[in-house]
């Protein structure tokens, strides 16, 4: 299925449907479907056009500016770029390892980012009919029925998100454009008043996060067949894990499992990522398609993100989240889930883990005192890998003796998931759209599959006035037959 609907053979005789952009405010994504005269799907492609120009934006800049400026690449996960850049440039200044204080402050910042990002999904679970958008009344009724048992979800989602952002502000120095992490360490300690304020709320945040996992588990149980089959395509799973195999979203080595859960590669140092991965260019997409080199492009594509991480690690090193992970694993038929909608469940488990990590970190005296910086022998390059909310994020820089960045390579989570998202929409197109009259409700299924991966299309601008969702049906002669707009 992964490549089955990628290239139609007789394109000139097919009808073209474009979903452009994929959603109202999430940047420039477009789905094109080619249909034959009988309405059968012959080709389905997701095009994401935003990941151009990153390298040009960074090359030629002094290396010490990079952790601050890369936050401008993405308004959704600026902290992830900030920390991935700082980790890469630690190598350049010879700060390996950084001090305990720097490591813990960065972890607090990062888990704050994970918490606030995942909390947004929790908020949207309070309106699951909007999140899932199906025109199936049965699915809608089941989901809404569960959500009504959790009337406080919206408020808690907002407040969990606010808590995560306070952790970021307290460690990064500012609400946005933070400067907390620098090559070689951090530039501030945690203020004791900020620590105490966060600690005062930490138990509540953990309790709400635990309830969030329960909610998403019940949503899953309310429509198990939908969750487990919608857009499902087996693939490899890639993420960082700690040396002992534990989930670690800030640092570790790369681990790859195959679709059945067998470990294919492990203990790959972050500096050696290029020995594991190749980025393929396809003529119809601006975004590259990474794959595991020794497996080749057809067998070597993989997923990153919560669904991969929860199943790739040996255990989660926080008790409540690990208990929920065990329940999650026990519920997956066949042992390993590749279902995009199950990502929502994995994401809430990670939110709980982030809440537990923050609560455990806050009393640590290293956060408020201790050496912040270290330096060593200068190197000409460095790689920083972090597990951003949406998946593995790789920053790779080469720095000249003039201190300027001479080359860089960034692989964001959306790029890692490019093939997975394309495969998911092809599965949805085959299972739900093939041979059907294309209604807006059916086309919305495509968006649902994409949103489960939560691609960071918002690396684009978000300015007011961008086009609403427009679906155009064009015949083989290029004449517009129908147009629907949702805004």
């Amino acid at each position: 299925m992964a490549f089955e609907l990628e290239n139609a053979s007789d394109r000139e005789n097919l009808r073209r449907v474009a979903i452009d952009p994929v959603s109202r405010v999430e940047g420039h994504g477009k789905v094109t479907l080619l249909l034959d005269e009988a309405g059968h799907i012959r080709e389905a492609r997701l095009h994401i056009v935003e990941f151009r120009g990153f390298e040009v934006f960074i090359q030629g800049r002094p290396y010490w500016e990079v952790p601050v400026m890369v936050q401008r690449l993405c308004g959704i996960c600026p902290v992830s770029h900030h920390l991935a850049a700082a980790k890469a440039l630690d190598r350049v200044v010879g700060a390996v390892p950084v001090t305990a204080t720097a490591d813990k402050l960065r972890r607090l910042m990062h888990y704050g980012q994970i918490l606030q990002s995942h909390a947004l999904h929790f908020f949207h679970l309070s309106s699951p009919d909007l999140l899932f958008g199906f025109d199936s009344e049965v699915a809608r009724r089941n989901i809404v029925g569960v959500a009504e048992a959790y009337p406080e979800v919206a408020r808690q989602g907002v407040l969990i998100r606010k808590f995560g952002q306070e952790a970021i502000r307290a460690t990064a120095g500012k609400r946005i454009h933070g400067t907390g992490a620098v090559p070689g360490g951090v530039n501030r300690h945690l203020d004791r008043a900020d620590r105490d304020a966060l600690l005062a709320e930490a138990d509540t945040i953990v309790a709400w996060s635990l309830a969030a996992v329960e909610l998403v588990r019940r949503l899953h149980e309310a429509n198990r067949a939908l969750y487990e089959n919608f857009g499902t395509v087996p693939s490899g799973l890639l993420s960082l894990v700690r040396a002992d195999g534990a989930m670690d979203l800030y640092d570790g080595h790369l681990r790859l499992r195959d679709a059945q859960g067998v470990i294919l590669a492990d203990h790959i140092p972050d500096q050696d990522y290029l020995q594991l991965l190749t980025e393929e260019v396809k003529p119809w997409s601006y975004m590259k398609f990474p794959y595991v080199t020794h497996l080749g492009p057809e067998a070597g594509w993989y997923k990153v993100g919560p669904l991969a991480r929860v199943q790739n690690c040996a255990f989660i090193p926080s008790p409540l989240a690990e208990a929920e992970r065990q329940a999650f694993l026990a519920a997956q038929p066949g042992g390993v889930s590749h279902a995009p909608l199950v990502t929502h469940w994995a994401r809430m488990i990670e939110m709980l883990h982030a809440a537990e990590v923050i609560r455990a970190l806050l009393p640590d005296p290293d956060l408020v005192a201790g050496e912040r910086m270290v330096e060593g022998s200068r190197s000409g390059q460095g790689v920083g890998i972090i597990e951003a909310p949406r998946g593995t994020l790789i920053h790779h820089y080469q720095v000249g003796e003039d201190d300027l960045v001479s080359w860089c390579n960034l692989i964001v989570s959306t790029t890692h998931n490019n093939q997975a998202m394309n495969s998911a929409i092809r599965a949805v197109a085959r299972d739900y759209l093939d041979g059907q009259t294309l209604t807006e409700g059916l086309l919305n299924h495509i968006e649902v599959a994409i949103r489960a991966f939560d691609p960071c299309l918002s690396c684009a601008t978000h300015a007011l006035g961008q086009m609403p969702l427009a679906v155009e049906l064009v015949d083989v002669a290029g004449e517009l037959l129908d147009r629907r707009v949702r805004g």
Binding site: V25, G53, F57, R72, H124, V158, H462
Partner: protein, 168 residues
């Protein structure tokens, strides 16, 4: 109680998307009393908390499909959609209502932009919008009441109509 909050939105590394941050920088330098200021890349659910208990709110953002350099309009609460990455100002108000917070009278000042490319500075269109927006903001701050803002919005609308007529 804070009488007015200004929420400016945008990415200062993406061409005319910097209009919100640049206008906020001018406001920071002015530092008017009684005016809370919030700057972010984009609007999200937690910004509803910044509006809680405020009398008047002004959102400032770049607009990629607007002819007039500056436009001013009142906004009403709207429900959120399934989109997870950014909210409109009206949706922020909707979130506030949904979680039981008192939402203020709110206005949107949108500034016309033309180029939103990564690493670009303001375009000529954006530069003109910044100056027009700054004049508009100073006028709003001089009389921060809904009634005064309605009169100003009407004047801006009439001016835009005249410009459209001249342009055609």
């Amino acid at each position: 109680m804070t009488s007015l909050v200004v929420l400016a939105v945008g990415n200062d590394a993406r061409g005319d998307d910097a209009l919100g941050p640049l206008l906020m920088a001018r406001l920071d330098a002015l530092d008017p009393p009684g005016v809370a200021r919030v700057l972010d890349f984009q609007l999200q659910v937690e910004h509803a908390l910044d509006l809680d208990g405020v009398a008047l709110a002004l959102f400032v953002d770049a607009h990629c499909r607007q002819a007039a350099p500056v436009a001013l309009a009142p906004i009403q609460a709207e429900p959120t959609t399934g989109a997870s990455h950014a909210l409109s100002p009206a949706q922020v108000l909707g979130v506030g209502r949904r979680i039981g917070r008192a939402m203020p009278e709110a206005w949107l000042m949108s500034l016309a932009g033309a180029d939103f490319s990564l690493g670009q500075g303001l375009s000529p269109v954006g530069q003109a919008s910044l100056e027009a927006g700054w004049r508009c903001l100073q006028a709003l701050l001089a009389n921060p009441t809904g009634e005064a803002w309605r009169a100003l919005a009407q004047g801006l609308g009439e001016l835009a109509g005249v410009v459209d007529t001249l342009g055609s």
